[in-house]
Symmetry: C2
Subunit: 241 residues, 2 copies
């Protein structure tokens, strides 16, 4: 064989479809709260903004609808869901069960490099400047949690957890904006610290407990938030039907 001297400098070129890129772009926009809960997304408008035809966009939107990240209106338009108190609570309940399980496994299984990654993510979360945009805090928080869950080595279950986060995303970030990043970060820090300590000390039950407590705090915060802004959400619910 000839040496092909330059072959190692070549990366395999991107082979993802246009549809996939559109999907990821919209998904990211949702996580970063570029769209508001309740907002209607139209295929042609997104296609124009993204500079593609409508085909990739309509498939991306359908994908997000199947994942329940977006909501199908009776007219078959899609919009960013306004989660009802019950929906949010049920999603959080599922999260407590699944993510608690993952935290437990992580405490049993986490190896050295994984522990290091979790600690790194924890430091990044703590060192986030308090007056930074909510989406940054949300991102750091997410990375901390998933650093733990990845240490559980259950890729299939990890894929079940991910869409739950995206579904909660827009409403959670809205929460940040309204209640203040500061207070939320302070609350999460305690649970994060407890989770990290428990994993380091290989105490599965304590790790599960810390993660569950963290999720429960989010859930209760949303319940309280909705009660206090009942008028606003009543309007949103009216648009439902």
């Amino acid at each position: 064989m000839d040496p092909k001297p330059q072959i190692h400098s070549l990366q395999p070129i991107a082979r993802d479809t246009l549809q996939e890129r559109v999907y990821l772009r919209i998904r990211q926009a949702l996580i970063h709260s570029e769209f508001k809960p309740g907002q209607v997304l139209t295929i042609r408008e997104l296609a124009q903004k993204l500079g593609t035809s409508i085909m990739p966009v309509r498939e991306a939107l359908q994908k997000l609808t199947v994942e329940r990240v977006l909501e199908l209106l009776p007219t078959r338009s899609v919009r960013v869901p306004v989660l009802s108190a019950e929906e949010f609570a049920e999603i959080c309940e599922a999260r407590m069960l699944l993510e608690g399980h993952m935290a437990r496994l992580a405490a049993e299984r986490a190896g050295g490099p994984e522990l290091e990654r979790i600690e790194e993510a924890s430091r990044a979360f703590l060192s986030a400047k308090v007056p930074s945009p909510p989406s940054v805090i949300q991102q750091r928080n997410r990375e901390f949690h998933f650093a733990i869950y990845e240490a559980a080595h259950q890729p299939t279950m990890l894929e079940l957890i991910e869409p739950l986060w995206v579904r909660c995303g827009p409403c959670t970030v809205a929460l940040f904006v309204d209640l203040g990043v500061e207070k939320i970060k302070r609350g999460a820090t305690t649970h994060h610290q407890q989770a990290l300590d428990a994993i380091r000390a290989r105490r599965p039950a304590a790790a599960e407990e810390a993660i569950v407590a963290d999720i429960r705090a989010t859930s209760e915060r949303y319940q309280k938030y909705r009660r206090e802004h009942a008028e606003f959400f009543a309007a949103g619910a009216a648009a439902d039907r």
Copy 2:
């Protein structure tokens, strides 16, 4: 207002899209094992068989792919997945957590009519003729489980559980075919009876335990089955890459 005398005899006409009908048809075919694990499904062939253009089919297939009911090959064709031992185990683990939770709630909350429905489903499962096709047993089994979960009154979590069943469907039915419906039905009957008794007696912990045991039995059966047919699955896995 005029009386509109005939209005009550009119049902709202079907307003579902072609895509939706195609989706449900393929989904049902998968549950009934009309396609074999590992089989590749092509858009144009399905479109021809169903008598539509390719558009509804390609969207239906994508929907099923997003739900992980179908699997995307590197060539972007889709096929019926052959679940690895690990994947199946993880899905079952998630099922034990979520469905165990639902069984617990059902035991706390089930009202009279719901209890009646569960008992009805249980009778239907027991009375299924033993030499009936596996898909019938699977269907009755499914109805019994979901009768319980619906009594928990957590619609959002119910929607999380459903795709897990569809994903397991093809492989579970294949199990039925191979191990014999008889033995599997006998095994499930015990757990079903325990679950039913526990819910009737309002003992949440026992109900959860029974459902978890039922799922665990399925999980272990699949593990054993794969070990005994390692050669076959090795061939299937080779087709993966």
